[in-house]
């Protein structure tokens, strides 16, 4: 059985103040297998966040349904961990307390929480910062904490909505390697939204390209690059071939998106 099934999910937002309704997402199907790392690539405004939020059940689809391990998802829950583009650490909690948040909500005893938190603090390279508050951390470190916080719950699937979008290029590249390293070790099922072509290829074993608004998945490309992947791979000929192919796909959509805005 597939890990996650997205079945003809669409979303129409009611118009604001009598305006016309917005079709953010056209009927979309996507099957995610166990241990898949799928990136969803598309120009901004094409409905990537909408799709991910529906999977998290932070938003309800207008049609269709989402199944996780064959069960329809109805409410948000710890089985679908999420990392957002905006910083969402709880400012009144330290790094460790943030990472323990989900475990605490589960009612896990404190001793168990600390052990799990320690191992994820180690994995995301935050040793020595356990007792820092979010405002004392750089953007990259905040997103590492958010990643550790989502992973500590041991979710069935990890949802990431442009998690590195606000970071500078160097930090972003390091974070990609960090996440990829964690995935190569644990093989957690991941759905990763991005508008960055390089990122979508480097991270994924499958790239789902979305069309301009109203979004739908117009192409599903398998990425056959070997693991473990090293950043030098981004300059290899195979990588360039994937990049050329996806650039063609996405360019047409980006042009459409711009025309929509002007028209």
């Amino acid at each position: 059985m597939s890990k996650l099934q997205i079945e003809s999910v669409s979303r129409v937002f009611a118009g604001v103040r009598g305006g016309p309704p917005t079709q953010a997402l056209e009927k979309t199907d996507l099957i995610v297998e166990d241990n898949d790392f799928i990136t969803i690539l598309g120009p901004s405004g094409c409905g990537k966040s909408t799709l991910l939020r529906i999977v998290a059940a932070l938003d309800q689809p207008s049609t269709g349904r989402v199944l996780l391990d064959g069960q329809p998802v109805l409410r948000p829950g710890p089985d679908r961990g999420m990392v957002f583009q905006s910083y969402t650490l709880f400012p009144w909690l330290t790094v460790r307390e943030n990472i323990c948040f989900g475990l605490r909500e589960k009612g896990m005893p404190e001793a168990g929480q600390t052990g799990i938190a320690a191992s994820y603090i180690e994995k995301v390279g935050l040793r020595g910062f356990e007792n820092h508050y979010p405002k004392m951390l750089s953007g990259g470190m905040q997103q590492r904490t958010a990643l550790a916080r989502a992973l500590a719950n041991d979710p069935k699937i990890l949802l990431l909505d442009e998690p590195f979008g606000a970071l500078d290029n160097q930090t972003r590249a390091l974070m990609q390697e960090l996440l990829l390293g964690i995935w190569e070790a644990d093989r957690k099922t991941v759905l990763f939204v991005t508008h960055d072509i390089d990122e979508s290829i480097f991270m994924a074993n499958r790239v789902a390209v979305m069309s301009a608004r109203p979004g739908r998945i117009k192409c599903d490309a398998r990425i056959e690059l070997p693991h473990p992947r090293h950043y030098t791979m981004k300059t290899s000929p195979e990588f360039s071939r994937y990049k050329a192919q996806l650039t063609e796909e996405i360019r047409a959509e980006a042009v459409k998106a711009v025309q929509q805005m002007q028209g």
């Binding site: 998290a56 932070l58 948000p76 829950g77 710890p78 679908r80 961990g81 999420m82 957002f84 905006s86 969402t88 709880f90 400012p91 009144w92 909690l93 948040f101 989900g102 605490r104 909500e105 589960k106 958010a146 916080r149 989502a150 719950n153 949802l159």
Partner: protein, 254 residues
Amino acid sequence: MFEPLKPVPRGTRVLLGTIFFVLFFAAWALVTFGGIIDPLFLKDPWYTLSIGWSLFTEFNFIEDVGITVFRVFGGFILAAVVAVPLGVAMGAFKSIEAFFEPFISFARYLPASAFIPLLILWAGVGEAQKLSVIFIGSVFQVVLMVAMIVGGTRRELVEAAYTLGADASGIVKRVMLPGAAPQIAETLRLVLGWSWTYVIVAELVGASSGIGYMIMDSQRLLDTGMMIFGIFTIGVIGLASDFMFKWVNQKLYP
């Protein structure tokens, strides 16, 4: 020198603030000692200070101060105990807000001082009446402000908590409350300041003790020095309680 938002060094700030006080007292001394204003209407600073001293040493003024402070904090704490939980519930749950908000928005414009005659009828001239005036004066304001603060919780934080497995009560207790706590504390500090106005109004009518009563009583004696000293006392205690509150807030929410 007048560059918008440009910070001033701490020393300069304290100096400027002190200069104003000095100028204020100098102007007061000038118009009274200089004979520009009749002492019947305004006593000089020296007289005011010495009558203040004798108020404490001979007329047991400290008891009046104590009873006034008790009324302010008593009424304020009662209001906070009712208003904070209600405000949190309204901020978190829109149906509760829809139920209470229209009435409270209306009640907030009911002037607490106008209730005094009614309250005297209902509760007599005892402590219950004084506490009620302060309670009525603050409770509605606190409810609405707390509801607004809690309702303004960042949506992303709530959503993140949902994806981490929090339920409704977890969201309220462990996301909305801690997130709103520093601003709620600031609101309470502000409203405590207003309570000082209400208590004096309550003591001006139908009281036999308290700073307000003393001010009323000095009018009978036509002693402007005593009145001014009473008013200053309120200012000083108000400022002190404000500093204390601010200090506690800073310790709790750095």
